[in-house]
Symmetry: C2
């Protein structure tokens, strides 16, 4: 008996083109058409233009994917909403940098997660970033590049992501995705994760990355919501990244639209090959580091050159509505992003000059160096996990 | 071979209780826990507290459901976003009351829908509310209660909904749901439709209604988003509806939380039994009309008394973010809602007095009467459809 089974989950635009830079395939922006294409058979005339992806396939990827949620004093209600949007099939990893005193927000997070999970039974792993046992585990394998001067793990999002990647690897996950804890729209979180899975299904290389762009990023302008197309920092970051790509391909391009995309995911094979820039430079630096390693500018490891790296950029249907962090945060993000580009050995002088100009006009002073965490493959993973399990005081597993 | 198939789509709270009023079962508020519960088997300890609903079951309902989108000069980008959120399995019915001159926005809507549908191939039916052929078709079956004095179909949302119900019936749909065209969050639209389907799967009666409540309805307060729990009108409407229920049950209650819920759906069997109040009174009046017909206060048709009516109220995970319509709109909505309660023959005098007080304090004057459209079962349906197909100038089918 043939079981004629059509579970099309989403429809989206097929790649209209891409930029090649050595072994890096920067795919042009793709759009989602429909969030749920149902179970009707799909006799489309537009087969070449759109891809329909079955929810069965998406769910198979989800089972191999961990979603890392870095949290730092965000409201518990927001975290709960985000969790409700993450597909149940995904492993959730919460890395908390929240305060422990005078109010212990980490304990509040654990309690909320337990309560939420009483009914939902997600697989959730959580840890506190400043867990002394975690720092000891890093020390034991010589990963000093993630530690601050006082010997604890550095604060910051990149460090939380790094911890998330290692925990995902510990759980044997093949994909790792990131979702911010301050998202007001659970449906958007759900869409991001579907986008990650859809991207991995389209990828030809085992080294793949999916970056989400938002259709709109609403800001409050006076007493109204203004649906801005791009975040303020993104415009500058994307422009500089595109100039960088141009300087090697020799052709003008606008291909990069997701330089600051916090919502992104990687295959574990790619994630463990990358270095990570500290703080807010982490997202643009991922793109730069991929180009540094596989862009044909420097010699690359054999396998990544053969397979190439797929970088997908997919636009979400949902607007990105998150906590406003204020102007200071925006300025720091801009500086970190520019710093990631400026300090790359592949950044040409004319782009460096232009970045310095931009900094001046914004009253910012370029950072002296880019702090980086070395790539996960460099550490003795089994020793790290053993030390972590022995010494951690906050590693908590909910089921 | 047993095909062991687990496609759990959503998890949500089971009913914790309900109010009975004659044959009407007003179910207490239920919450969604997770938008996508994946395909993992679900060995929950909490079976009695939560329901997991398979996406297969949801999709079966979707195939029998039409989603009516009333639109009136809303931005095309918003309509496109809403469409992208409606599951592909659902029939879409767009009823447009948009302007035809000096700019013909209806033609723009048709063009946008055609373009969108080139890739997506939804089943979309659309019609303009002021189509002269539509008015003639109503006249031909004596449905004068939907016409204005000049003989055209009255403007307003209730009238658009009514047209949508008839078109859904024409297409043989068993369920009809409503979604506003001004929603900024496609993921919320998708969740609403999943909530409708989940409610119908829980219903025991063929006469059933599902009303969505929003977890938050963000408003811009000064330069920030404030995530208000209830809309301004909803508080007053719900309170008065609850007083009405109390006056018959003799027990205080807060059971009604969705008096003004524009996001709602009905089984066709219920939809064709109801009268519809004109304009913004339509949503609260549905509840009142159900109580009038089946609440045990007036004699009811035999079948509805035997089966009862299920009214579900389910809270969405996504916030409700829509176009701000301004204070005038809010005032009109409040007045219409109060008018729907005030003019009901089952409204006791003390509630009438209190409504008059509320109106005074808001500077509103109670409307003289409640304009109603008689229930769809009263018209000769086949004659109406025949006349519509012959005379309509705007009925358009996209596939």
């Amino acid at each position: 008996m043939v079981f004629d089974f059509y579970y099309f989950s989403i429809i989206f635009e097929l790649l209209s083109g891409m930029e090649h830079l050595g072994a890096v395939r920067l795919h042009e922006f793709q759009r989602f058409y429909e969030l749920d294409s149902g179970m009707r058979k799909f006799p489309t005339n537009a087969r070449e233009a759109v891809a329909t992806i079955s929810s069965e396939d998406i769910r198979k990827i989800n089972q191999k994917m961990a979603i890392v949620i870095p949290i730092k004093d965000e409201k518990l209600k927001l975290l709960e909403g985000v969790l409700s949007g993450v597909p149940h099939d995904c492993q959730v990893i919460v890395v908390s940098g929240s305060q422990r005193s005078p109010v212990d927000r980490f304990v509040m997070e654990v309690q909320m997660l337990k309560q939420f999970n009483h009914f939902v039974e997600d697989e959730i792993l959580l840890i506190h970033q400043q867990d002394p046992g975690l720092a000891e585990a890093f020390k034991s394998v010589g990963l000093d590049s993630i530690l601050s001067e006082d010997g604890s793990v550095r604060k910051g999002k990149a460090e939380a992501m790094y911890i998330g990647i290692l925990l995902a690897k510990m759980l044997g996950k093949e994909y790792v995705g990131f979702v911010d804890a301050d998202n007001y729209v659970p449906g958007a979180v759900h869409e991001y994760v579907e986008i990650y899975a859809a991207g991995f299904l389209l990828a030809e290389s085992p080294y793949s990355m999916v970056r989400v762009s938002w259709v709109y990023k609403p800001r409050v302008v006076e007493d109204k919501l203004f649906f801005a197309k791009w975040g303020r920092v993104s415009e500058v970051t994307n422009s500089n990244l595109n100039r960088l790509v141009e300087s090697y391909t020799g052709f003008g391009t606008e291909v990069i639209k997701t330089g600051n995309s916090g919502e992104h995911a990687m295959s574990m094979q790619l994630a463990e090959l990358l270095c990570y820039a500290s703080g807010f430079a982490v997202e643009p630096y991922e793109v730069i580091n991929i180009i540094e390693q596989a862009g044909g500018i420097n010699p690359a490891p054999h396998q990544i050159v053969t397979s190439g790296v797929d970088i997908f950029q997919i636009e979400s249907r949902n607007p990105h509505l998150h906590e406003e962090k204020g102007d200071e945060h925006v300025k720091q993000m801009l500086l970190s992003s520019l710093s990631a580009i400026y300090h790359s050995p592949i950044c040409p002088n004319n782009i460096k000059d232009s970045i310095i100009e931009t900094c001046k006009s914004q009253g910012l002073e370029m950072e002296k160096e880019l702090v980086k965490i070395k790539h996960p493959l460099e550490i003795n993973f089994n020793n790290f996990i053993e030390a972590l399990k022995q010494k951690s005081q906050t590693l908590t597993e909910l089921k």
